[in-house]
Symmetry: C2
Subunit: 689 residues, 2 copies
């Protein structure tokens, strides 16, 4: 049977298993009436936001659809239209993955709170099942989309296998664009609500986190879902799909004569194997006798990696007949392993970096911030070394193999790294579910041990969230390199007479490099300003409610939660437009104004500076958060001490770093690379004319 | 008469004029006994630090000297020894420039305080004369060094003009190395003392800035001199010298057949003209009827630029016979003009960015920091666009000229930009003098109007300090590009059979790009950690003194200023070692381990990420500082309000950004590029073997 059909079958299997998990989650008890009504408010806010976000993106997408369909050169197979159709389907699938994940999350939260009455394992079971739905929806839909399009192109439209992968880029672009807006919009939403709620609630009124008297509390909980769940899902959907596609394009352009379809379809095989391994891995997420939550998650991840590796071995022997390419897949799995360990070191409470920040908090917010910024800057070092070693090894194995193709080695390492995405998402997105469960427990006045259980789960969730970001960024950097290569080959294919060299001493490349380097800085700045501005509006609204409804603090008046949700929704949607347009238009302007060589420089610049800045922001932000938690555990004076106050400031600054600007840079890098790839034929043809 | 002799003569003229200024400053009255004794303490602390810093660097320099003399290939003219001698002289000249400048500064400060009794103009006159000494010493010594070595090589050693410039790189390397340590060590010193003094003094004890009861107050004032004066002087000495040398190398390798010696000596002519223009410009620094201090400084800078431009026109017509190259010099002067305006916009109290940070302070330190970080990130955008446009235009004029050499156009633009260094330093280093004068006024209880006058001068000094940093970084980026080009040509010259292309799609270049990109992050992190650590020690010492000598606060006991100076001195010297070694060894390790192609990628990476990070840190830090001052002017509640407290935190974070890590990245970029250029022949020969 055709490999592509198997891939389609396995992705449908993943989606069916997700349905099973949904049913299991939904059957769990929802707790008392108060809990249900709180959960309902969160559900409504989240759905309202997501609907409006996708409406905005939809308008934008229709314009892009028309542009792609009519402005792209027709090519041999009416390429423009095929790419445009792929774009729309990619956008819809990406949105769908976010919807499914979020819809389950906002239902699993209240059930997790109820389950937490029965202990840690019961709560983890519900929350992790909820998270697994997101994970399976993301990889299932991505693999289904890529393999179906490839199948339709090659089987029904009779496009030769060597030409089909290029046309998949539309699907990847649709996913990229949705992920960009989901990350930026969701990121602004979640942190503006969080910071706004904390500034008035914790700092001015002295009420605890998730206190039902805080008018911004529902908005804060909605934010966890639209940012950490829907935004993150769309981000990884896109990274996963785009990496698969980029590897297939590369194989098509350089390996078709040697391997036929096998080299192109091999990434789909790897993806399929890892999906099966992910499903198997989910059964191992159980808290052992040691009671260590992190160990339970590691166990699942490790089993998934192990089964994947075994599967990769046989698949490689069968399809590529070369052990070296199998080694390249191991490089990818190895990067996943080490990035996890490195990120845990920099963000977990047990290690020096977080404790150093906590210690520095004793001399005030100033030294907390200096140290936190230093830790963030430093935390970029090991991941870069890891990626550099990974590139070196993957290239080496690619060259050593009978294919004699180093870049294909890098592409396969990237695919292998991303193949375990489903498991990574599952371990990540159980986090916001428990975070929400804790909020519901607090608001519904559940017994203290419920909150204790959800807090324990949430704290580990902070680390896994940071790990996922490190993973997403490192994989984005690898994927972008492969896309860059595909860009060069696309240029060459359309203008064979031109020798495309991006020489660093060429002033056009240098100009592009600077312009690319600046983008993540400008983009991150805009995201942070947006969080600041929106949070300011939340603060004003909350202050206004406390002023006008004196009974809120005593519990007599009910705060108007909807107003805050509404303010954040409107503001986030408005604010996401500038960074979104910046990402879309920068490569188009540079490409058409300065030409394909400068655009190549821009791709290089955005990868390097984006990778570094995103790492700094995500890891630094995570470290600040856990430094605060470390103090709350009773160190350096504990909760309420001056050190704690200083650490709260650090956490506030870290919030937009790690949940808005940092992760959104991922999407930025990939949107720019994808757009470059799409406009490459036009740029090349302009040169030849 | 030979051009080189004229250049030597003019640089000696500059040094003589500096002596005249020194005499004028020294003749001014020093005020009462108390003032003299305070000034004496600052002088002693500053000299003690500088002596120990140069002792440390001297040890290091001797090792480098021996390595250069014996490990470098002998070449045609015993190159290794000539480069080694140049290295030592470059190091000594650079140190000397710092010594002279600082020695005058620590004497001009007390005289400025005394002069401030007679009004703004009198104080400005003394302070600006002191600053001019530093400016003239820097450009005079740099121009003298480069032109003398060139003269000795070509006239006494009979080295052909086409080969001589390469050998000058030793002089540049000596300057780079000293500047690296001066920037890092001085930067750590100044900010650790400042932050430490503020944390206990202002925050814990509630005593004002520069209060004589604070045991760290002398260390703080010493810091202004060793960091802002000696460190900055060494930095610009190096940028100026290295840019001249890089332009000469480039001309030697590509233009000798067309222009003979003229193309090589032309940069020296530009330098000489600008020195004369700078001396002329200093006479125009007078406060007009509008009483605007900034206008007085602009007037001087503008006159210098204008005279330079006229001189450049005639020099270009005479030496190069091509108006296009004159246009390239105008591009350089234009970059200086616009970088000044852009930096002023981002750091002066009159404009939106600073006011936005001030406004955000109302909702606490968290939002102050988020906004400040966003402003810093954003502030990188316009300078990058400016430099990109500058590169484009300079390249264009270079290509349009009869020389048909775009890179030479960029090199000449860089030389023209840097030619006004003397004036820029003068307007910058009058700042720390007035800052010190204010401190002395405060400690010696001088009448209030003295402090008012010095404060007004100091506030403008904050902006000119930020401008100088923007100028230094933009020029460093241009200079580094020229060095990169020289690196390529040096490789090609030593291995003509190899085609050196740094193609961005080459995995070796990518690896280098990532490794280069990471360096500024790691380097900056280390600098900031060092400030944090050292400040912590200062805090502990100050707390200890307040605890053990109860009479300090009442004025009965005298604090032990020397202890704090000693602690900061030792710590700064210890802490500067790691970043220093990192900068020196990174290119050597990458070059020998991964080869010259990866090293080329590293140069590209360090330029792009260093340029961006340095801009973000310097401008962001300046904006935080002035946001605090804006609030102190009475906005948003003024001094003592909650907004002010939040702004103080922002300022504390901005301090190591703008005065330690940010400016030190300059030196990092150039040290790495210079080392690459020096080891290029060895790397090339290894390839050929």
């Amino acid at each position: 049977m055709n490999v592509t059909v198997i891939a389609m079958g396995i992705s449908i299997l993943a989606l069916l298993y997700a349905v099973v998990l949904i049913v299991q989650v939904m059957r769990r008890p929802t707790g008392n009436e108060k809990m249900v009504s709180i959960a309902k408010a969160i559900q409504e806010g989240a759905m309202a936001y997501l609907n409006r976000q996708f409406m905005t993106v939809a308008v934008f997408s229709v314009i892009v659809f028309l542009l792609l369909a009519f402005a792209l050169p027709k090519g041999n197979y009416n390429n423009g239209v095929l790419i445009a159709v792929g774009f729309i389907v990619g956008a819809i699938f990406s949105a769908l993955a976010g919807y499914i994940g979020m819809n389950v999350s906002v239902r699993a939260n209240v059930r997790t709170a109820e389950a937490a009455k029965n202990g840690l394992q019961a709560a983890l079971s519900v929350a992790f099942k909820g998270g697994s739905v997101t994970g399976l929806a993301v990889v299932g839909l991505a693999l289904l989309g890529v393999s179906s399009f490839y199948y339709v192109f090659t089987t029904f439209l009779n496009i030769p296998v060597g030409d089909a992968p290029k046309l998949l880029i539309g699907f990847g672009f649709g996913a990229s664009l949705v992920s960009l807006f989901a990350r930026v919009g969701g990121g602004i939403f979640t942190k503006a609500a969080d910071v706004g709620a904390d500034l008035v609630g914790k700092v001015e009124q002295g009420i605890p986190e998730d206190d039902p008297r805080n008018p911004a509390v529902i908005a804060d909980n909605v934010g966890d879902n639209v940012g950490d769940c829907a935004g993150m899902g769309a981000d990884l959907f896109e990274t996963y799909a785009v990496t698969l596609i980029a590897a297939m394009i590369l194989a098509a352009s350089s390996l078709t004569t040697m391997l036929g379809a096998a080299g192109i379809e091999y990434p789909l095989v790897l993806g399929s194997i890892a999906v099966v391994a992910t499903i198997a891995g989910t059964f191992f997420i159980k808290i052992g006798r040691s009671k260590k939550i992190m160990m339970a998650l590691y166990k699942g991840m490790f089993i998934t990696g192990l089964i994947s590796a075994v599967g990769f071995y046989f698949a490689t022997q069968y399809y590529i007949h070369d052990i070296n390419i199998f080694y390249a897949t191991l490089v990818g799995l190895g990067i996943t392993l080490f990035i996890t360990l490195i990120t845990e070191y920099y963000t977990a409470k047990e290690y020096a970096p977080v404790q150093r920040i906590a210690k520095a908090s004793q001399t005030g917010a100033g030294t907390n911030l200096i140290t936190g910024l230093a830790v963030g800057l430093e935390s970029t070092f090991l991941p870069v070394i890891l990626v550099v070693v990974g590139i070196f090894l993957a290239y080496y194995f690619g060259m050593e193999s009978s294919l004699n193709n180093g870049i294909y080695g890098i592409a396969i390492a990237a695919v292998a790294m991303l193949s375990t995405t489903g498991m990574v998402i599952a371990t990540d997105s159980y986090g916001p579910i428990t975070d929400n469960a804790g909020g519901i427990a607090e608001m519904a006045n559940l017994p203290e041990n419920v909150r204790k259980n959800t807090d324990a789960l949430d704290s580990v969730g902070n680390t896994t969230k940071a790990v996922t970001k490190g993973y997403a960024i490192a994989s984005a950097a690898l994927a972008a390199l492969v896309l860059f290569q595909a860009y060069t080959e696309e240029l060459t294919a359309n203008a064979p007479s031109v020798n495309f060299i991006f020489n660093l001493t060429d002033y056009r490349v240098l100009i592009g490099l600077f312009l690319g380097g600046i983008l993540p800085f400008l983009f991150a700045s805009s995201c942070m300003e947006s969080v600041g501005k929106t949070a300011y509006k939340v603060v004003e609204e909350v202050r206004h409610q406390f002023r006008t409804k004196k009974g809120i603090m005593t519990g007599k008046d009910k705060p108007d939660y909807g107003r805050c949700v509404d303010i954040v929704t409107k503001s986030a949607l408005k604010e996401m437009v500038f960074p979104g347009l910046l990402a879309v238009f920068a490569p188009i302007i540079v490409g058409f104004l300065l030409g394909p060589i400068s655009l190549g420089g821009m791709l290089g610049g955005v990868i390097v500076s984006g990778f570094l800045l995103a790492l700094q922001m995500c890891t630094g932000g995570g470290a600040w958060d856990n430094a605060k938690k470390y103090i709350e555990d009773g160190h350096f004076g504990g909760k309420g001490s001056d050190a704690h106050k200083a650490a709260v400031v650090g956490d506030t600054v870290g919030d937009p770093f790690k949940d808005t600007a940092g992760p959104a840079i991922n999407s930025l890098i990939k949107v720019i690379n994808t757009i470059a790839l799409i406009i490459a034929p036009i740029l090349a043809m302009m040169l030849v004319k």
